[in-house]
């Protein structure tokens, strides 16, 4: 290596890690292949791994899993004694590397040398995945209850995401205990890819829905101080507003009047989507289904002298 080469900054890159946790053996093989091509893992992450380019060396990688953090000093010491360098940990997975010597057999680069310790690792991971499944299951039920109380895209999308998480956790717990079922890493990577795409799309759709709801989220206060004759034709137009997404909305609705008054919301076609006749009423969080479009609010059939209505969408 000449002086010019030494002064050069090593190249780095971030790569999305497609390997699911139950395929850690395939991930190790993949890391070894990358190292043989000159790209060495230097910083493991949950989704992205950081690699450094160096063609002068080659490493062998191994992974260990602990759901309870191991005793740091003793753990590192035992690995260091056999030449393993701890790169870091992510989600309980510990990444180690050791410079590769082609004269040594591949068995010299294994950190688990008996069936019992491999089974113990799989059990640790399966236990964690099972706890994740139970946790997701409980949160999923809370989500189902929220959806039951207010059926809307706002509650349905998180429910679907939780459902995907629940299935993924359960599948992980099952797969780590059945290593023979995941011989094909491409299938495992496709599962992770689909799961990740589903999560990303789900989150983006949720943001879109939330924005659409926020745009509708404003209060309307109207006052009438004269009687209005009966009949739709005589109805007084209060205001109009836009709905940007067809969905169920929660409406806070209050009427305060000295006589009975009719309040109505109509769509562009003139169909009444909501009506209430009262002198004093309060509907907190009233559920109303509205399609995308323009709506107009009206007052009609009022015999008194003073009426006030307040409504607000959430």
């Amino acid at each position: 290596m000449n002086v010019q080469d030494r002064n050069k900054k090593p190249k780095h890159k971030l790569k999305f890690n497609l390997f699911p946790n139950w395929c850690y053996e395939q991930e190790q093989i993949d890391l070894n292949h990358r190292s043989a091509k000159g790209w060495h893992l230097i910083e493991p992450g949950q989704h992205f791994h950081k690699y450094e380019q160096n063609s002068a060396i080659q490493y062998r990688y191994q992974m260990d899993f602990h759901n309870i953090e191991p005793e740091p000093e003793r753990y590192e010491e035992i690995y260091a004694e056999q030449g393993w360098e701890l790169l870091g940990s992510s989600q309980g997975w510990y990444y180690f590397r050791k410079p590769y010597d082609p004269l040594l057999p591949e068995e010299a680069y294994e950190i688990f040398t008996d069936t019992e310790s491999v089974t113990a690792l799989r059990k640790r991971w399966a236990r964690t995945a099972l706890l994740g499944t139970i946790g997701s299951f409980l949160i999923f039920f809370i989500g189902m209850y929220a959806f039951h109380l207010f059926p809307s895209w706002l509650t349905l999308i998180p429910l679907l995401l939780l459902g995907a998480e629940l299935i993924y956790c359960f599948y992980s717990a099952f797969m780590i205990r059945h290593p023979k079922k995941h011989r094909n890493p491409k299938v495992a990577c496709s599962v992770t890819l689909l799961y990740t795409i589903f999560l990303v799309v789900g989150i983006l759709v949720f943001i879109y829905v939330k924005i659409a709801h926020i745009r509708t989220d404003f209060g309307h206060l109207h006052t009438i101080d004269a009687p209005i004759p009966a009949g739709i034709k005589n109805a007084v137009e209060l205001d109009s507003f836009d709905i940007y997404l067809s969905d169920n909305y929660r409406m806070d609705f209050i009427i305060t009047a000295d006589a009975s008054v009719c309040f109505a919301i109509r769509n562009e076609q003139g169909d009444t989507v909501f009506t209430a006749t009262a002198d004093n009423c309060h509907y907190p969080k009233h559920c109303i289904t509205l399609k995308k479009g323009n709506y107009t609010a009206y007052f009609s059939d009022f015999t008194g002298s003073s009426a006030q209505v307040y409504y607000k969408f959430e």
Binding site: Q62, D64, P70, E71, E73, R74, Y75, E77, I78, Y79, E81, Q82, W84, F96, E107, A108, E110, I111, F112, T113, D114, E116, S117, T119, A120, L121, K123, R124
Partner: protein, 119 residues
């Protein structure tokens, strides 16, 4: 992380008996190496390799799991080297409980060999 449980208490027909269960090869060699005196993880690995002619190796993952489990069970304990002038190294020492486990395992293995030779 329970790989082995030894000795195991079982209740058979209302009588509590102590049942000896085999321990794994790695566990056996760790206990055997430590029976010669306190040593560190690398020392155990080297001694095992030497004793078995390279047939049995104990990798770091297996070593950590086994020592962790043995420390929890009280079969071994941690100690530090008392050499002056050098960095204090973490050593493992066999406890009385550990000696007992090893002794029972050796007797079990001897019995098995004797039984095999008898037939």
């Amino acid at each position: 992380m329970a790989i082995v449980s030894y000795p195991k208490t079982v209740i058979k027909e209302g009588i509590i008996i102590k049942k000896s269960e085999p321990i794994s090869e790695s566990y056996f060699y760790i206990l055997l190496c430590l029976s010669k005196g306190p040593t560190h993880g690398y020392g155990i690995m080297q001694m095992t390799k030497q004793l078995t002619g390279g047939e049995v190796t104990i990798g770091s993952g297996t070593m950590y799991g086994a020592t962790d489990n043995m420390l929890t069970k009280g079969w071994i304990e941690e100690t530090f080297s008392e050499e002056t002038g050098v960095e204090k190294k973490r050593l493992y020492r066999l406890t009385a409980k550990g000696f007992d486990v090893l002794d029972k395992e050796i007797r079990r293995l001897k019995r098995m060999i004797a039984n095999t030779e008898e037939l």
